[in-house]
Symmetry: C2
Subunit: 403 residues, 2 copies
């Protein structure tokens, strides 16, 4: 007997027809003898519609009430899914978070799941029932409805998989898996069959929006096998698990990119302790999310150059913050608000030399200038001019045999 | 300190603008030192939309799940109302039925409220908070979400007023009160300032759809003063309370009518015990709702004529049921599926002779033929040809000084 969480995202339950289609997938899995917990998102567009309604009332709409409002979206899908399964002859029941209960900690609109009472649902599953749970929500210790952040249905699914100790957690979505790069822009992009949590995390945070990064993080922490697959095709999807289960034949798994970046370089910053903190603390206070940070080795032992990237819509705010920061000194400030970040990701990179060299050679062959470089164990990122983005992605995709 | 229930119907919360407008009414009442519990319906059209979605999945959609689905409508309005009040600077909080809890008995989609835990909300009210409660729902003793029938938000408001022992229960709606007849059809119709529960019940069941009959019944049983008033004007509305509080200066309070009726007469039915039961039992089994029943006195002591009315869309089913009923005998069957029922209602009728005579004379003056007559203590109904409906209503309205 295999126990599974099947999670259906917003587009997978975006209409009555799609809910019925998803119910048929659940029926098939159930008929194969699996114990099934279904986690559902709100119907595509619903959460945005509700947020827009709350914004029409107030731009600082009460957060407790916002959670009451937003949680209704998944409640509707849960009831429709349970009804659809019953119509298909599958015993099924929706379980609101307060009925289970699913306990969260943290603040309204930004909670996280800490405990789930598994007893009643486990009994129901053992009696052949399919349990439907609305994702993205829970209740606080004081009995208020809470939500766990936008896109949080993935996090719900993983937490439920963890606490119910299921054998897998399958994320049904509108793409049929994780690709080596954006298939809409690079037609030779390939679906990845297996990928490690770490690689998936790098890809997720780099704009491959297949799953929420925090959900992958939780799955990694508790070693919960994930599978991303399409609701609309029968293709196998992408399996996400820990590195040791993957036999790396290629050193690079995928090429990701993000546009809308901006680069700022402070030239001639005093090279002494505390300077970086003085630079970044005011940025953090102004809620500017700093992405890459590169500090060159000090050549004269006295000053250094410090480069960092931010999102383009934070660019002006960043410059203002830097210029009005009286605690820092620098000789010069250079900036470029039309850059993009290209990243090659692969757990195989750790053990394979030559990735860095090959990357630089490939970009040089295309006459692409590298503005900044940053590396981690499984990732190499370069900042280049935005105009060169697609050319660089295609070249690297070919260079690392991903076509 | 006055404690009030303010209930807002679907059209009163039918858009964000209207919710904000309703919140301003609540704010005004609250600022006058009243303790306020607000009961809200789903936004106009929402419940029908959800029912339509469930029907697309199944024409016998699971009733437990239907209640989970439908209850989301009032949940959304509650959150938006609480958010709107907070935005207006009024301390406010939504209370889902399971958070209170509001306990119901009966079956899914057809429950009724039996108990409410008042403690937490009373504390909140005494601290100056406005409590928002979604109408039309509760939870069962087994912890399932239940609903209390279509239009049940009125019943919720009255039950909440009763159990919280409030001083009044104000029903905000899209009309500014109860009228002496339909103001859309008879321009001289007048708003009634005060009306008894009994008269209101007769008017409600006769097509003046201002409030649900069952809610009026509950208010009558526990002597809870009601007030029906418009969300969109400042007019006083109609107060509904027990008869002894009303000084009747007119014998007739209003003229109601219902179209879409059909009349069936069985001529020459044996006049002996059990015959009526034999006629109506199969109708009940076929879910045909019989309205008026009139049996004439037997002239020969052996047979009698029996007339009854049904809704027009039950007409064919009724004829088929009668004709296939082997237990009954009659000489002839006459029917007319284009009739309407005109009713004059007034608690003052009991003590005032002449109403019956005046009614018949008035209709005769207009050359309107009366097909059947039925009377109760506070009501006189006649069946006439549908074409004469408006002429009869206007004439009776004038006859009884209601213009």
């Amino acid at each position: 007997m295999t126990k599974k969480v099947l999670k259906f995202g917003g587009t997978s339950v975006g209409s009555i027809e799609r809910i019925v289609h998803a119910a048929k997938i659940v029926k098939k899995e159930h008929s194969q003898g699996n114990e099934i917990i279904v986690v559902v998102s709100a119907m595509a567009g619903k959460t945005n519609e509700l947020i827009s309604q709350s914004n029409s009332i107030s731009n600082k709409f009460d957060k407790r009430e916002l959670d009451v409002l937003l949680s209704s979206g998944e409640q509707v899908t849960s009831a429709l899914m349970a009804g659809a399964l019953n119509e298909l002859g599958v015993k099924s029941k929706s379980w609101m978070n307060w009925q289970i209960p699913i306990l969260t900690t943290g603040h309204n609109t930004n909670s996280r799941i800490i405990n789930i009472n598994v007893e009643n649902i486990n009994t129901y599953l053992s009696e052949g029932g399919v349990a439907i749970i609305p994702g993205f929500q829970g209740i606080s210790s004081s009995g208020d409805i809470t939500t766990i952040g936008r896109g949080g249905s993935d996090a719900s699914a993983v937490a439920i998989a963890k606490i119910f100790n299921t054998d897998s957690c399958e994320i049904y979505t509108d793409v049929d898996g994780v690709y080596s790069t954006d298939p809409n822009k690079v037609p030779v992009a390939k679906k990845i069959d297996k990928i490690s949590y770490e690689e998936m995390l790098e890809l997720a945070s780099l704009g491959a929006r297949v799953m929420q990064a925090s959900a992958i993080q939780t799955a990694k922490m508790y070693d919960i096998p994930l599978q991303v697959r399409s609701t609309f095709t029968d293709r196998k999807g992408t399996k996400i698990f820990s590195e040791e289960n993957i036999d790396y034949t290629k050193m690079v798994t995928g090429v990701a990119y993000s546009k809308n970046d901006a680069k700022i370089t402070l030239i001639g910053v005093p090279d002494k302790p505390g300077v970086a903190a003085d630079i970044f603390e005011p940025l953090d206070k102004n809620q500017i999310n700093v992405d890459m940070v590169i500090q060159n080795v000090s050549s004269d032992g006295k000053t250094t150059d410090l480069t960092f990237t931010v999102k383009r819509n934070d660019f002006n705010k960043t410059l203002n913050t830097i210029n009005s920061n009286k605690k820092i000194k620098f000789k010069n400030l250079s900036h470029n608000d039309k850059v993009s970040k290209i990243s090659i990701v692969g757990a195989g990179m750790v053990t394979t030399p030559g990735v860095t060299f090959k990357t630089f050679r490939a970009l040089a062959d295309e006459n692409i200038n590298i503005l900044a470089i940053s590396t981690s164990e499984i990732k190499l990122s370069v900042i280049i001019s935005e105009d060169d983005t697609l050319k660089a992605v295609k070249k690297l995709h070919t260079t690392f045999d991903l076509d």
